[in-house]
Amino acid sequence: MSRRTEFLSSGALRLALHTLAEGEGQALLLLHGLGEQSPMERPFWAEAWTGPVLALDFTGHGESDVPVGGGYMPEALMADVDAVIAAYGDLTIVGRGLGAWVALLVAGARSSIVRGIVLADGSGIAGGGPQPPSPYVEALPAVGSATPDPFALLELSRDVRPADYALDYVRFVLEDSELENPIVVSARIRPDWLAAVAADIGVIELSLSEAVASFVPPKAT
């Protein structure tokens, strides 16, 4: 199918949510990397999913609105995902790059609703590293509505991601999950935060296809 797009409200901004595949039951949500946008069709590694396959354009990316004056933080992008949760309820999430980091945060914050997460390679997976990068402050002119928003590229490539901070979110997920392994790492590139997550008890490593298949909900009998 060609993707179908709807717009969700995030304050005064609109978020583009694309349906890549229709289906019954729980949704699979795809989160793209930094500076990217949602795919046009269902990726091959999501073929096993029986429910709807959704893909969200983060604020300032793809067909979503661009805020005035930046101010991006991964924690704010959690709210983008939370808008999808408000509309669709329980989800499993596959996050690429920046989307992997946001997937972990929102899974921790909404641990009773996000059923499982798959953390995959992609743009923006390292952020600014485990400690603040060298100081750099630049005033940019207003950017209009084109995406990706340069403020997003600047700010979301400099946010700090300490390993122990990531592990707090792992704990939130593991404490609430009914699954044995609600967090799966598929990424081969492992910044500090992701290496720590992958090494945690309760987190497993699988290929993307295997990871998605592992989260397919059992059919009701």
């Binding site: 004056g69 402050v137 400099r158």
Partner: protein, 316 residues
């Protein structure tokens, strides 16, 4: 500076006065990447400039007593409202880094020469970041109780810290979901002042009521704080106090830090002299005020103004 008018127009004729408080001599705005930041100025426009940065949940008119004292000491004091605060635009997104960038935009719009920078609380902390990255902006830096050291209280164990973070996360997302419905609750001047009192327990009710009339707007239902209702106290994130202290140690300009010694002020940062002293930049000066709370420049404006004026005298 472009865009500054010469008059102050109150929102409502029900105004209050406060001893020593003076409205700004000039008001205007600057642009930061499409956002309008409201600017207030006191003092001779040709005098050397102090850029004054307010703290979180404050606004530039909280300098209404302190800034005139500096202005009377021969300085042009310029302060702006942070995004979402006071008369500045509300933004879609808020972050520490965005505030820092707004400060850069304002300073470069207001002066093409190095200026004195003065920041209180969060404003002081943000200037640590800005001036580590852009030292050429400042010829001196005054930090009023904006030097963090004990953000993670040692009295809180890991389990409790995680529980608090989780509660903060849920509250943040819930608030964002309701963003379109949020509004500041209307009240009387006395009611609004009373609601602010827990944040400012050491400040007089007379001051807080004055603050309402310069920091809130009046509509048919009463007075409401202007601050964006999506903003809230506290927060979460990976930030560590030590990162700010590294910025302090790297500063290259003359530095005066003034710490509150009152450890139970609810808005205070609770840093002690011994926490900060090892990170002072070369030649940096640290003053510790045992009996003054976090809002040093409001609680004891004459004492703090004299301290600042004496420190800044060589930089006129």
């Amino acid at each position: 500076m472009s865009g500054l008018g010469c008059q102050f127009v109150p929102d409502n004729d029900e105004m209050r006065s406060f001893p020593g408080a003076r409205p700004p001599d000039r008001t205007g705005h600057v642009d930061s990447s499409g956002l309008r930041l409201a600017v207030n100025e006191w003092g001779d426009v040709d005098a050397p400039m102090i850029a004054a940065i307010h703290g979180g949940f404050d606004f530039s008119r909280t300098f209404d007593v302190f800034a005139p004292m500096l202005a009377d000491g021969g300085w042009r004091v310029v302060a702006w409202d942070a995004r979402g605060h006071g008369d500045s635009d509300h933004a879609h997104l808020y972050s520490w880094a965005a505030d820092v960038r707004d400060h850069l935009a304002a300073i470069t719009a207001l002066s093409d020469k190095p200026v004195v920078m003065l920041g209180h609380s969060k404003g002081g902390g943000q200037l640590l970041d800005l001036l580590d990255g852009r030292p050429s902006l400042a010829k001196a830096f005054v930090n009023l109780d904006g030097l963090p050291s004990q953000f993670s209280s040692p009295d809180v164990n890991d389990r409790e810290r995680r529980r608090m973070r989780r509660a903060d996360l849920g509250a943040f997302l819930d608030r964002r979901r309701r963003r379109n419905e949020l509004e500041r609750r209307p009240d009387t001047i006395e009611g609004l002042a009373g609601r602010r009192q827990p944040m400012n327990p050491r400040l007089s009710r007379e001051w807080l009521e004055y603050l309402v009339t310069v920091g809130a707007r009046h509509d048919d239902l009463g007075w409401r704080w202007k601050i964006d209702p999506v903003l809230h106290l506290g927060g979460f994130g990976p930030w560590r106090p030590g990162w700010s202290m590294d910025h302090l140690a790297a500063l290259e300009m003359p530095f005066l830090g003034v710490l509150s010694g009152v450890q139970d002020d609810p808005m205070g940062w609770k840093s002690r002299r011994e926490d900060i002293a090892p990170f002072l930049p070369p030649g940096g000066r640290l003053e510790y005020c045992d009996d003054i709370g976090h809002f040093l420049h409001i609680e004891q404006p004459r004492y703090i103004a004299d301290l600042v004026l004496e420190f800044l005298e060589p930089f006129k």
